[in-house]
């Protein structure tokens, strides 16, 4: 695997090698052990993955409880109204 090939795979799968196809992931690990350029590419990818995952907190405990209670209080609504 070359650094360019690593970059192409990062573009598809991101920086988490655990989510890559196993063979490509193994080749990437070998390259990362040998290449400064590859490690720089991976550092950048890790940072960008973190950006993509930063979509913010969703619910506070109180809000979550409110929504759960609201759903549980509506279980007997007629299903046809939800279709």
């Amino acid at each position: 695997m070359t650094p360019n090939e690593l970059k192409a795979l990062i573009d598809i799968y991101g920086a988490d090698l655990a989510k890559w196809p196993p063979q490509e992931g193994a080749h990437a690990k070998t390259l990362l052990a040998q290449s400064d350029e590859a490690r720089a590419l991976m550092r950048d990818a890790v940072a960008f993955d973190a950006v993509l995952r930063n979509t913010g907190p969703v619910l506070s405990p109180d809000r979550r409880r409110f929504l759960v209670d609201s759903i549980m209080g509506r279980l007997d609504d007629t299903p046809s109204s939800l279709s």
Binding site: D11, G14, K19, L52, V58, L67, R74
Partner: protein, 216 residues
């Protein structure tokens, strides 16, 4: 479109997924490994056990609100999440443990609801809707915590629908490309293409430089 009449939802019921043992990936924030698995709870739900359903809702409400927020928009996310769980309850007899994990079914129902909503309101600008106010957080907290996240969500909203869904499932729900493909009823290479184009577009939108220097 009803869940019952939607072929994409029904298809998952007949699908023997290859990751039915992905229990580690099933645990959302705050759920420990020793808790009752989703599928076991769902079997109890099918017997009318409301306590079991409450556990499932509590366990997954965050991820469905988050998914709806990213795919549709912030203003409708909580309403969509409520609809999704009410549909699950109404259609609980349709789920089968051999047809795929509860989580797969949940995502399918949620995405169908999100897609229906985006198409229903396709003439409305998604980014015009404000974030709902959570009274448990101070305005300052919401501002500090949310500014960068809002920028990312705004960029994700600019992606075409299928790229937006693939990126959200892959990065925010931490699924593999194969998992995403099953949920979206696409081939894996089609999802890989969506992920590649989505990631490159987000790099552009978020002003991230391309480390390889090549074209996006």
């Amino acid at each position: 479109m009803s869940v019952q009449s939607n072929p994409r939802v029904l298809k998952v019921l007949d699908m023997k997924s290859s990751w039915e043992t992905d229990s580690a990936g099933d645990a959302p924030v705050g759920v420990t490994a020793d808790e009752v698995p989703d599928d076991a709870l769902m079997i109890r739900v099918q017997q009318g056990d409301r306590d079991a359903f409450r556990q499932l809702v509590t366990r997954h409400i965050d991820r469905i609100v988050g998914l709806a927020r990213r795919v549709v928009g912030p203003a409708e996310a909580e309403d969509i999440a409520q609809d999704v769980f009410l549909k699950l309850w109404a259609r609980r007899d349709q789920w089968t443990p051999r047809g795929g994990t509860f989580r797969t079914w949940l995502y399918r129902v949620a995405l169908n609801r999100c897609i229906d909503e985006t198409r229903r309101r396709s003439t409305v600008a998604l980014d015009d809707t404000p974030e709902p106010i959570d009274p448990a957080r101070s305005p300052l907290d919401q501002c500090d915590a949310g500014e960068e996240a809002a920028r990312v969500r705004a960029a994700i909203h600019q992606l075409p629908e299928r790229q937006r869904i693939a990126i959200t499932l892959y990065y925010n729900e931490d699924l593999t490309a194969a998992h995403v493909a099953c949920i979206m009823d696409l081939k894996v290479n089609a999802v890989e293409s969506l992920l590649k184009r989505g990631r490159q577009k987000l790099r552009d939108l978020l002003g991230e430089t391309d480390p390889g220097g090549g074209p996006a």
